[in-house]
């Protein structure tokens, strides 16, 4: 019965993935992509990877959906969607299939890596959650660089702004009917989401959660508040916004440099202070991740939409 369940889930995931790439309509592909993220989250949960399932649910089914739908609406208004459609692309299909086959071959052909015993090393990190321990200690380099990549992506988006718009608020001027359903929702959901997101960060030390998952939930509710017109969009020049964007990578980097100054390796946290230090880095990273993701989705500063 367990096998039947897994097969059904895999079949659904494959169908949805196909639905996202073979259809011609952009909107339909977007909707299939949203359900794809959702089913992947179920798949990860089925495998027992709670933290990955959480990240996939928050990013795949939450933020990516709103990002793609907003982009689709924008394309439609610029009437780009009526552009002649490209036909099937055999080149892309062949490349995709080749990469998939190569990865599948690698999975079976390569020897399983012999990792050091994580359970034995975990007490050094002071973390109860092995995922958080690995992310912030054993592969701290990757995590640091990922947080900087997010910042770089935001700078890339901001560069799309016209010079004259630079001091305008970020994104569109969102508005909603006062007292309407959307405005009420924008006031009701954020307190719940803020509590839940903060809980995820706190629980990430020893249980399911983490800075990335918590930060994504926080970003999502901040986004809802902005789209409901409850929270005014920030401006690039605001000191608070800039500080929030860099506090995560900054604190992480400084802690690594401090370790060097104290004669240890870069990004090494001594076991004695590992837990409090990790928590401080996690909180700083959460702030940066939440703000960066939210303003990434909102878009570059824009005084008014380009008229076509």
């Amino acid at each position: 019965m367990s096998l039947a369940l897994d097969l059904a889930l895999c079949g659904l995931i494959l169908c949805v993935a196909l639905g996202a790439v073979v259809g011609r309509g952009v909107f339909r592909s977007v909707i299939f992509f949203i359900t794809y993220g959702l089913l992947l989250a179920i798949g990860w949960a089925r495998l027992g990877a709670k933290d990955v399932a959480l990240a996939e649910a928050a990013i795949g089914a939450g933020l990516t959906g709103v990002l793609l739908l907003t982009a689709h609406g924008r394309l439609r208004r610029m009437s780009v969607e009526r552009a002649p459609r490209v036909g099937p692309n055999p080149m892309a299909a062949t490349t995709g299939i080749a990469v998939a086959l190569a990865l599948g071959w690698a999975w079976f052909a390569l020897p399983a890596p012999t990792a050091p015993d994580l359970a034995a090393a975990l007490p050094l990190t002071g973390m109860g959650n092995p995922v958080t321990g690995v992310l912030l200690h054993f592969r701290a380099w990757d995590t640091l660089l990922e947080s900087i990549v997010l910042l770089a992506a935001l700078l890339g988006v901001w560069m799309l702004a016209r010079d004259v718009d630079w001091h305008a608020p970020l994104g569109l001027r969102y508005h909603a009917r006062p007292g309407g359903v959307l405005a009420s929702f924008g006031r009701l959901l954020p307190p719940i989401g803020l509590s839940f997101g903060s809980y995820l960060v706190w629980a990430g030390a020893d249980g399911t959660g983490g800075a990335f998952q918590g930060g994504t939930v926080l970003a999502a509710v901040v986004l809802v508040a902005m789209m409901a017109g409850v929270l005014p969009p920030p401006r690039v020049a605001q000191g608070g916004l800039r500080a929030a964007l860099v506090v995560g990578p900054g604190v992480f980097l400084l802690s690594g440099l401090l370790a060097v100054a104290l004669g240890m390796g870069f990004l090494t946290l001594p076991p004695a202070v590992a837990k409090p230090a990790t928590l401080i880095i996690e909180v700083a990273l959460t702030v940066s991740i939440a703000v960066t993701l939210a303003v990434l989705v909102i878009g570059p500063p824009d005084d008014k939409e380009p008229v076509r």
């Binding site: 011609r24 952009v26 909107f27 339909r28 439609r76 359903v181 929702f185 959901l189």
Partner: protein, 97 residues
């Protein structure tokens, strides 16, 4: 066990409501009937399933989580149904294809 029986009955009922919602979504003739079929039926289904699972819960925290999940799903569904229905009343120029 009585608790197991309650789980069988309530989750089974929940599944029936989910199927009812899906059948409505597939069979009903226009956007607005479909909207009303699914937002009502599937959230009732989720409620029955959460209630049925609550009989298997291992503590108060789990019960509270199940209740919170259902309430948030209701909040989202109510909001979305209203907003999408209003958006569908005056659709933008045209749909694709």
């Amino acid at each position: 066990m009585v608790t197991d029986l309650a789980t069988y009955a309530l989750t089974g009922l929940g599944l029936v409501f989910f199927w009812a919602g899906t059948i409505g979504l597939i069979r009903f003739p226009d956007t607005f009937s479909r909207l009303h079929a699914l937002t009502k039926a599937d959230n009732l289904g989720l409620g029955f399933i959460a209630l049925g699972l609550a009989f298997q819960a291992d503590g108060w925290a789990t019960l509270a989580m199940l209740a919170l999940i259902w309430m948030l799903a209701l909040l989202a569904a109510g909001t979305v149904a209203q907003l999408v229905a209003r958006a569908a009343l005056s659709p933008p120029e045209e749909d694709e294809e």
